[in-house]
């Protein structure tokens, strides 16, 4: 996946400002930055919840910024939402089956696939729960499971660890590592630095929609500009 | 030329009174984020209250409205407190239930009035009914002119209320962001009740002003619901000035349509404009100006 000089303006506000980056196949790529720095907007541009003001986004040799969200998912880019969006009146199993239906028309096969994914994400014990009644940790996991059921090649994870306790965070990290083992490329947006340093191969830090630096996690996290950006936030 | 001038001016005057009704609706929509299909019925009830004042005590409709407004204010508060706020606590599959609830309310109001007054057409005859001012070859109905002036005065008073008083500011804050307003110590439930009352009172005022000009019967409410909707969508949801502009626009468009197109398809034109604005101008006519 590659983004070339993407810009997004909302009225007078520039949310993403001339950002270029490429994600290599099979890696876990981290995206960090203070609140409001444009991380979620980048995701919304990749899966085309809104179109970029300028610039292009490519996946393999396809240009994808001209497609619609469902076409992008069909191509193999799935995402989770920072503010989770469970299909509340469906059970956990039905939620995941809805994802699985992207690759099959058969209810039986969709259920089979969904059960596999639930097992993988350790959600099996919740399978008949209405999704609206899950705890935060389980909802976050359901987001991942549902996205995974669409059999993506690239997975966008938006603040999967936010609001989790240390043990749940560890489990989430385990699941993300295992997903990579399946050969899925992953981009994570994260505030929890432990997750970033723990699982990412490369990290890009952004602020005000612009790139500060890109590189190995340890280097990026200790980069003076990055520290300044986060401290600036603490001041305000 | 005089015909065109007269048509436009009539439209503007009528539109000013429509706007008062629509401002009531837009206020309710803005604060509660609900679609109120009972609004026209509230107008209708207000008109009947004024009508009764006229028949029973010979009260002029412009004074009768001072009775109708508090009555409708209370009615609005009751509806909001006992029905609409209650609905928020009900877990349902379709959030659009709310729309149907207002349909039910409208049905109840219409039928209660029908039960009391039957379906007869009624009208009032004031000394100035039928009197007209002659200005440069155009004749302008006095009832329209007076109604327009009063409507504008009310609009200005409302504007002052919303911008200068604490309660008015609380209403605007709740409309912008209910949760944030609650954090700031606004009692959102109370605000919604007062807003619905206020919107209903404005509906009653608009209806009373139109009483000397319209025949009155229980089903007239639907007509005003439709008009208020078109205006609200034209003006952009929740905007008072938008509703004023939308009201004037609809008044002129209707007036021109009735004179030059013919009565039958007049309403179709209104609905088509409504659909187009809904689809292409999500913030009403204002989005044309901004572009």
């Amino acid at each position: 996946m590659e983004a070339r000089r993407i810009v997004k303006r909302f009225g007078g506000l520039v949310a993403v400002d001339d950002l270029s980056f490429a994600v290599r196949e099979g890696e876990i790529f981290g995206l960090i930055g203070p609140n409001g720095s444009g991380k979620t907007t980048v995701f919304n541009l990749i899966n085309r919840f809104f179109p970029p003001t300028s610039g292009t986004i490519h996946f393999g040799d396809r240009r994808i910024d001209v497609l619609s969200p469902h076409q992008i998912c069909a191509l193999g880019i799935a995402r989770t939402f920072q503010v989770v969006k469970p299909l509340r009146r469906m059970t956990v199993l039905e939620n995941v089956m809805t994802g699985a239906f992207l690759r099959t028309g058969s209810v039986r096969r969709a259920r089979q696939k969904a059960l596999e994914v639930l097992d993988f994400c350790k959600l099996m014990h919740r399978k008949d729960f209405p999704a609206g009644k899950l705890t935060i940790a389980d909802r976050k996991r359901l987001e991942i499971a549902r996205a995974l059921a669409t059999e993506p090649r690239l997975l966008l994870l938006d603040e999967t660890a936010a609001g989790l306790n240390p043990r749940e965070t560890e489990e989430a990290m385990d699941i993300i590592r295992q997903i990579r083992e399946l050969g899925v490329t992953i981009i994570v947006v994260e505030h929890v630095m432990k997750v970033i340093t723990g699982i990412c191969d490369r990290v890009m830090a952004i602020n005000f929609g612009r790139e500060i630096t890109t590189g190995p996690p340890a280097a990026v996290v200790n980069h003076p500009e990055v520290i300044k950006a986060y401290l600036g936030e603490a001041d305000a | 030329m005089a015909l065109l001038g007269q048509t436009v001016i009539c439209g503007l005057l009528l539109g000013g009174m429509y706007a008062l009704i629509a401002i009531g609706m837009t206020l309710i929509m803005g604060v509660m984020k609900i679609i109120n299909l009972a609004h026209g019925s509230l107008v209708m009830v207000g008109m009947y209250v004024t009508y009764v004042c006229y028949r029973a005590w010979g009260l002029d409709p412009y004074l009768g409205m001072l009775v109708a407004m508090p009555v409708l204010f209370l009615l609005g508060c009751v509806i909001q407190h006992f029905l609409i706020n209650r609905l928020l606590e009900v877990e349902s599959v379709l959030p659009e239930n709310q729309v149907l609830l207002t349909v039910g309310i409208s049905l109840v109001l219409t039928e209660v009035i029908r039960f009391i007054f039957k379906s007869d057409y009624r009208s009032i005859a004031t000394p100035y009914t039928g009197e007209a001012l002659l200005v440069g070859g155009m004749s302008i109905s006095i009832a329209m002119a007076v109604g327009f002036v009063i409507a504008m005065v009310f609009t200005y008073l409302l504007h002052l209320f919303l911008t200068r008083t604490d309660l008015g500011r609380a209403i605007r804050a709740t409309a912008q962001d209910r949760e944030a307003a609650q954090y700031m110590g606004v009692d959102a439930r109370r605000v919604t009740v007062i807003t619905f009352g206020l919107g209903s009172a404005l509906a009653a005022a608009g209806g009373s002003l139109l009483l000397p000009l319209f025949y009155l019967w229980p089903d007239i409410g639907h007509l005003f619901t439709a008009k208020a909707f078109i205006i609200t969508i034209l003006g952009g949801m929740g905007s008072t000035t938008g509703a004023l502009l939308g009201g004037l626009t609809l008044g002129v468009a209707e007036s021109l349509g009735a004179t030059y197109i013919g009565m039958g398809y007049k309403d179709v034109v209104g609905l088509v404009i409504f659909l187009l604005v809904l689809l292409f101008l999500p913030h009403g006519l204002r989005s044309l100006v901004r572009r």
Partner: protein, 321 residues
């Protein structure tokens, strides 16, 4: 499917077939036919409104188009309105395509409003296009007509078709996709669901069935008029009431709702006289406040709370026994 369910279905079917002989009077047969009509309308609306969450306040448009297809065939070509039963649903379906493509751009209450406006536009056009539609004078059919029994079985067949079609859709991928669109359109889109297309897949059968019932209505009542068949208050809104009364997004809800609607309507008319519409208004408010998911919906919820497992049903309120 459990064995007792099969027996229940067989018993129900036999009962449905025997009903007109049990209630062997034209009055009761008329009531039964009305129940079937409203049940079919509710079932059709439920596909789009209940499952897919696109609350249409304009289904009278499809009903009226079906009725007028039959009526106009008779008026202009002298053809038997029975042909309308073939034409009506097709016309309603074809018209629903542009309507859907236009209105599905809007979400939630705005979709509801747009559909309401569209329904009214149809009513006004049919009212004013006098040279083609006869306008407010309507279309009266004068021809020998079969007895009530035949109409009963025809209506039963239409309801059967509606239920069977809904059942097939709900139990398949379509059902899951419809409900996911209702629950969260953004999430559905992000899961690779072409939401506009699937909303259309819910609208098409819904419009088809509604048009079919409309054409049946023309044959049965033999008189139509724009203010009746395109009515906002008496068709579009009452369809929604029937569904909410019985159970939103349940297979049998609309049928139960239709029976309650007709029975209550008769009761109100007999007991309350002029105040019967008032009673309906009060009923609408009470149902929405205290029974927002309908009789069948609440029963399902109750079962679920009691820990009953119902496999193979989607979407909480989606399944039904």
């Amino acid at each position: 499917m459990h064995r007792y369910r099969i027996w229940a279905a067989v018993a129900l079917a036999l009962l449905a077939l025997a009903l007109p002989f049990i209630f062997n009077s034209p009055y009761y047969q008329h009531m039964l036919i009305l129940i079937l009509i409203w049940a079919a309308l509710g079932t059709a609306w439920n596909l789009l409104g209940g499952y897919c969450g696109q609350v249409s306040f304009g289904h009278a448009a499809f009903f009226g188009l079906g009725a007028y297809s039959a009526g106009l065939l008779y008026l202009h070509l002298g053809a038997s309105p029975w042909w309308g039963m073939a034409l009506g649903p097709v016309v309603a379906t074809l018209v629903s395509i542009p309507i859907g493509l236009i209105c599905f751009r809007l979400r939630g209450p705005y979709f509801a409003l747009a559909m309401l406006a569209l329904g009214e536009i149809f009513r006004l056009v049919f009212l004013n296009w006098i040279s083609f539609t006869n306008g407010p004078r309507g279309i009266l059919m004068v021809a020998a007509r079969p007895g009530k029994i035949l109409f009963y079985y025809l209506a039963l067949a239409i309801l059967g078709l509606a239920l069977w079609w809904s059942y097939l859709l709900i139990k398949s991928k379509f059902g899951y996709y419809f409900v996911s669109i209702r629950e969260d359109q953004d999430a559905a889109e992000a899961l690779g669901i072409p939401t506009t297309r699937y909303k259309l897949y819910a609208l098409l059968p819904s419009a088809f069935l509604t048009g079919l019932v409309g054409a049946f209505y023309m044959n049965y009542v033999a008189f139509i008029e724009p203010n009746v068949v395109f009515s906002l208050g008496n068709v579009s809104v009452m369809i929604i009431l029937v569904v909410i009364l019985g159970g939103v997004a349940t297979l049998w809800g609309p049928t139960v709702g239709a029976a309650m609607y007709i029975a209550l309507g008769e009761l109100f008319r007999a007991q309350l006289g002029a105040a019967n519409v008032l009673a309906f208004g009060v009923l609408v408010c009470l149902v929405i406040l205290f029974l927002p998911n309908g009789v069948v919906g609440e029963v399902d919820l109750f079962k679920r709370l009691m820990g009953g497992k119902r496999r193979g049903d989607v979407g909480g309120s989606l399944g039904s026994p």
